[in-house]
Symmetry: C2
Subunit: 233 residues, 2 copies
């Protein structure tokens, strides 16, 4: 098939679901952009950041460029989530979306909307998002489930927590993602089993007594990700 | 964007990596098709079954139709693997491939090549495949790693084993997928921990003594898949 062949082709987009914790480390938040009034369809709706791929770009490069363009955001952690291709998912025609999942510490990044198609950009609590454009509610739910699955079989948190944290901080991240409280003893046994935490010679007053601070062993963390996440290329 | 807009678009294909066990249940095999001499590019090469999506079809429907058309194969188990979008992956231009992973028992299906683009179709031992067309070796490796990851955190085998099997049969499936031998006692403890096996009142002579047969509790199995595989929609 040459490029001159004329027949209908699908459009391909990337959409990004970027999660973080709110400033109180109390809720899971997601980055949404508000579509400008002139953006047809779903003008004025909140949506996941996303856009059409460029022909010379890899999918991940498209995802990173679009996040930068629509929200001023550069991410370290981004993985491919799933490709959504229902023929009816976009009223404009056949649009196939390759969705990405990102994690970030919102307090360490600045976001801004200076693309003409973006009227606003902000973090929304995941359990409080408005009705989203297209099938983005479905994409968001899929990403949320993926995140919940991930924490059950691999360490997570290096992209969500500050460099030094207590075991209670880490447990809180898991509880926020899973939406339920965890048994402290079981949690600590499991997380220590990953052998990915390095105890620091630092303590923080946490209630009645000082709590030890930890950091992630980034080499071991990467090794576990490489081993566990065969679907993250 | 209307459909009349003219600008370069990528082509979208589906490619399927279908695994099974060889008749001796000794090796992992993969379904490959031989591209016809007239199929440009890579004519005469072996390749994964795959093809262009149709505009009105979902991605999974395209995957199923293409498998049926190119290899005469209908599958029960098929999950989305990953979307490959490197701009240089296809000499014909920008082609984005949504890859699927399937599992089947080769002895229970017949395969046949009656599509003009398919010169032959057969099962190949995974560790013995020839040089493949396009980036299909990379796709195959990715699928193989995914399969290896899956067995480490969820029960697998319902699509690979006959209905009744011994624990040794099941362990052998795991060993074939992982490419290494497993400790029998640890394996049994782990697999029984999934609570997905139903002991049958049937035995098979296995070496010196009768080995009990088991079947999968399909309801519990599905439940575990639903729970664990957030990325399988």
């Amino acid at each position: 098939m040459s490029e001159a062949t004329v027949y209908p082709r699908a459009d391909v987009t990337v959409d990004m679901v970027v999660f973080g914790l709110d400033p109180d480390h109390d809720r899971l938040v997601v980055l949404l952009i508000k579509r400008a009034q002139a953006s047809q369809p779903f003008d004025g709706y909140w949506a996941l950041p996303g856009g059409f791929i460029a022909m010379e770009e890899s999918l991940e490069a498209s995802a990173r460029r679009t996040l930068e363009r629509e929200a001023g955001l550069t991410l370290s952690y981004l993985e491919q989530l799933y490709t959504f291709g229902d023929p009816q998912r976009d009223p404009r025609g056949r649009v196939i979306s390759v969705a990405y999942l990102g994690l970030v510490r919102p307090e360490e990044v600045s976001i801004h909307a200076d693309h003409p198609a973006t009227a606003d950009v902000r973090w929304w609590a995941v359990d409080d998002v408005p009705e989203l454009a297209f099938d983005h509610t479905h994409l968001l739910e899929t990403a949320h489930r993926r995140l919940q699955t991930k924490v059950s079989w691999q360490p997570i948190g290096v992209d969500l927590l500050p460099e030094a944290f207590t075991l209670s901080d880490l447990q809180r991240v898991y509880e926020i993602i899973l939406g339920r409280s965890l048994d402290k003893r079981n949690f600590r046994r499991k997380i220590m089993g990953f052998d990915v935490l390095v105890p620091l010679d630092q303590y923080r007053q946490d209630g009645h007594r000082p709590a030890q601070l930890f950091r992630f062993d980034s080499e071991r963390y990467t090794e576990l990700l490489d081993k566990g996440l065969a679907f993250e290329l």
